[in-house]
C-alpha cells in the first residue's frame, strides 16, 4: 500500500473540520438545553429569595420529616436488594439450571412496569379492599398509606438494579477462582469474602449507587401508596410536589435542590467507579503473560478474562 492510499484511508475515517465542529456544537447545545439548564433552574429558583429563605425552607419540620423518611426508606430498600442481588447473581452466574434465562427476565420485570402500576399492585394486595385488607384491618396493621407501603414500593422499583449489574460481571469471571479456593479447603463464606467479593466490588458499588439514587428519588410508585400525609408519609419527592402545588416555589425548589445534589453526587461516584474499574482491568491486561507451567486449557481460549464494562443499562 502506498503512503498516499494510507492517507486517503485514514482521512476516510473522519470528517472535515467544519463538520466535526458543527456536530460537536450541536450535541453540546442539545445537552446544555436539556440537561444543564434544568439543573441551573433548580439552583436559581431555590435561591431566588436568598440563602436565608433557602435554609428556612429546609429547616421546616415537614421538610425534615420528608428527608428522614427518604433516608429510612433507602436504608431499608437498598440493603435488602443488595442481599437479593448477590444471592441471585451467585445462583445465576455460578450454576447451570433449567429456566435460567426465564428467571433473569423475571428479575428485570420491575423495570418494564410503570411506576404507577407498581404502586397500584400493593394497594390491591394490602389496601382496604385488597386481598389482605380485611385481615390487616382486624389486626390493626397499616401497610398501604403508611411507611411500610412506601418501603415496599421502593423495593419493587429498585429491585433489579444490583442483580443485573452483578449477573453479567460474575458470568464473565467464571468459576475457576472459586473452585480453586474450595478445592484448597476454603469454606463457602471464605470463598465469597476473599475471592468473589474483591472481584465484583466495583460492579457491586455501581449497582448500589444507582439503586440508592432511584430509591431516594422514586415518585410515581411511592405517590400511589403514600397517602400524602404531611410530615408522616411524604418522602422528599412527594414533599416537593406538595410544596409546588401550594405555590411555595422557593421551598419546593430548595428540597428539590437536595435531590439534584444527590443526583450529581451519584454521577460523580459512578464516574469514579467506572474509571477505577477500567484502570484495574487495564493493569491486569498489561501484566506480562504467565509462562505455561501446567497443562491447562482456559475456559475460553481466545479471551481468558472478559472485561464487562459497568453499564447503567437501566431502568425502563
Amino acid at each position: 500500500m502506498t503512503r498516499q492510499t494510507v492517507r486517503t484511508a485514514q482521512r476516510g475515517t473522519t470528517e472535515s473540520a467544519w463538520v466535526r465542529y458543527t456536530l460537536t456544537a450541536l450535541a453540546l447545545a442539545f445537552m446544555a438545553l436539556f440537561l444543564v439548564l434544568p439543573l441551573a433552574a433548580v439552583a436559581t429558583e431555590a435561591l431566588r429569595n436568598g440563602w436565608d429563605a433557602y435554609w428556612e425552607a429546609l429547616k421546616e419540620p415537614d421538610a425534615w420529616a420528608a428527608i428522614r423518611l427518604t433516608l429510612i426508606t433507602a436504608a431499608i430498600a437498598v440493603p435488602l436488594n443488595l442481599v437479593f442481588g448477590v444471592a441471585a447473581a451467585w445462583a445465576i452466574a455460578k450454576y447451570e439450571f433449567r429456566g435460567k434465562s426465564f428467571l433473569t427476565t423475571l428479575i428485570d420485570l420491575p423495570f418494564s412496569v410503570s411506576p404507577v402500576v407498581a404502586g397500584l399492585i400493593y394497594v390491591l394486595v394490602f389496601g382496604a379492599q385488597g386481598w389482605l385488607g380485611p385481615w390487616l384491618a382486624e389486626h390493626d396493621i397499616k401497610i398501604v398509606f403508611a411507611v411500610p407501603g412506601i418501603v415496599l414500593a421502593t423495593i419493587f422499583v429498585t429491585f433489579p438494579f444490583i442483580a443485573r449489574e452483578l449477573i453479567p460481571l460474575m458470568q464473565a469471571q467464571g468459576n475457576e477462582e472459586e473452585q480453586a479456593a474450595i478445592v484448597l479447603g476454603a469454606t463457602g463464606w471464605q470463598t465469597f469474602w476473599h475471592v468473589t467479593l474483591p472481584n465484583i466490588k466495583w460492579g457491586l458499588l455501581y449497582g448500589v449507587i444507582l439503586c440508592n439514587a432511584r430509591a431516594m428519588g422514586e415518585f410515581g410508585a411511592v405517590s400511589v401508596v403514600s397517602g400524602h400525609i404531611r410530615g408522616q408519609t411524604n418522602t422528599m419527592p412527594l414533599h416537593v410536589e406538595v410544596l409546588y402545588n401550594e405555590y411555595q416555589s422557593v421551598a419546593a425548589f430548595a428540597v428539590a435542590s437536595l435531590l439534584a445534589l444527590l443526583a450529581l453526587v451519584t454521577l460523580v461516584i459512578k464516574s469514579v467507579v467506572e474509571w477505577r474499574s477500567e484502570r484495574e482491568f487495564k493493569a491486569v491486561a498489561d501484566l506480562p503473560p504467565e509462562p505455561p507451567s501446567a497443562p491447562s486449557t482456559p475456559a475460553n481460549p481466545s479471551e481468558p478474562y472478559v472485561h464487562v464494562p459497568l453499564a447503567s443499562r437501566a431502568a425502563i
Binding site: L23, A27, V36, V116, Q129, I182, A256, I316
Partner: protein
C-alpha cells in the same frame, strides 16, 4: 472450565463442575422467595383482580373516550420523544466516541443525569424553564409558542427522560466498530456520507432500534416528570398513568386495575421486542467477530 481440577469421581458427570461451589440451594431458594414476595405475587393480584371484572365492565373502563384520548397522548408523545432521542442520542454518542473536545468526560457523565435525577425534580425544573415567565418560555410566549401545560410539554419531559437510553446503547457499538471497514470503503472510492450510510449505519442500527424501544417503553410508563408540565387537562394533556391515579382517588379500583392491565400487557410486549432486538444485536456482533 477444566475437568482436571475436579475430583475424579465427578469427572464423568456433565453438571458436576457446578457442584464444587456451595450455596446453590440457598441462593436460588432465596432468589425465588424474594422474587415471589416482592414482584410475582403482587403483580398476579392485578391479573386476578382483572378477571373478577365482566367483559363489558373491562371494556367500558379501558375504552371510554377520556381513556382513549390518554392512550393517544401517551403513545403519540412517547413515539415522538423516542424519535427525537434517536437523532439526538446518535449525535451525542457519535461526538463522544469520535471527536475529542475539552470537558468530554464531564459531558459523558452528564448523559446519565436523567437516570439519576428524581423525576419530580426534572418535572418542576422543566416547567419552571418553559412556563410563560420562565427562562425559555418568556421568549417563546410572544411568538405564540407554548411548550408547557399542553401536549408539547409532555413530549419535552419524555425527551429528557429517554435521552440516555439511545446514547448508552449506541456508544459501545460505535466504540467497537472496526475502522478498517471505513478505511476499505474510502479506498474503494466511497464518500464519507456513503461510508456512514452504507457501512457505519447498518452496524449501529440494532443498537439504535434497541435504544428507541427502551426510550419508548420508559416514556409510556413515565409519570413523575410529566404531570408537572402537562397541565393535565382531560382529553387534551392527561397521560394514561394519571388516569389510573385519578380512578384510584375516586376509589374506582376496578377501573384502575383494568387500565393498569392494559399498560402492563403493553410493557410486556415492549419487553419482548427489546429482548428480541438485543438478541439480534448480539448475533450481529458475534457474526462480526468471527
Amino acid at each position: 472450565m477444566t475437568t482436571a481440577a475436579l475430583p475424579s469421581s465427578a469427572a464423568g458427570q456433565r453438571r458436576a463442575p457446578a457442584r464444587v461451589l456451595p450455596g446453590f440451594n440457598i441462593t436460588l431458594g432465596y432468589t425465588l422467595l424474594y422474587l415471589s414476595l416482592i414482584v410475582l405475587i403482587p403483580l398476579s393480584t392485578l391479573v386476578f383482580k382483572t378477571f373478577t371484572l365482566t367483559w363489558p365492565q373491562f371494556w367500558e373502563a379501558v375504552s371510554s373516550p377520556r381513556v382513549l384520548a390518554s392512550y393517544r397522548l401517551t403513545f403519540g408523545a412517547s413515539f415522538i420523544a423516542a424519535l427525537v432521542n434517536v437523532v439526538a442520542g446518535l449525535l451525542v454518542a457519535w461526538v463522544l466516541v469520535r471527536y475529542s473536545f475539552p470537558g468530554k468526560k464531564i459531558v459523558d457523565a452528564l448523559v446519565d443525569l436523567p437516570f439519576a435525577l428524581p423525576t419530580a425534580v426534572a418535572g418542576i425544573s422543566l416547567t419552571a424553564l418553559l412556563a410563560g415567565n420562565g427562562w425559555i418560555g418568556q421568549y417563546l410566549e410572544p411568538l405564540g409558542i407554548q411548550l408547557a401545560f399542553n401536549p408539547n410539554g409532555v413530549v419535552i419531559a419524555l425527551i429528557f427522560i429517554g435521552l440516555p437510553f439511545v446514547v448508552r446503547t449506541v456508544q459501545p457499538v460505535l466504540e467497537d466498530a472496526e475502522k478498517e471497514l471505513e478505511e476499505a470503503a474510502t479506498c474503494l472510492g466511497a464518500t464519507r456520507w456513503q461510508t456512514f450510510s452504507k457501512v457505519i449505519f447498518p452496524t449501529i442500527l440494532p443498537a439504535l432500534l434497541t435504544g428507541f424501544a427502551m426510550a419508548f417503553a420508559r416514556a409510556v410508563g413515565e409519570y413523575g416528570s410529566v404531570i408537572f408540565i402537562a397541565g393535565n387537562m382531560p382529553m387534551i394533556s392527561e397521560i394514561t398513568p394519571l388516569i389510573i391515579i385519578g380512578k384510584l382517588e375516586q376509589y374506582d379500583y376496578a377501573g384502575a386495575t383494568a387500565v393498569a392491565t392494559v399498560m402492563l400487557v403493553i410493557s410486556f410486549v415492549l419487553l419482548l421486542v427489546i429482548n428480541g432486538l438485543q438478541a439480534w444485536q448480539r448475533a450481529r456482533t458475534a457474526g462480526n467477530s468471527q
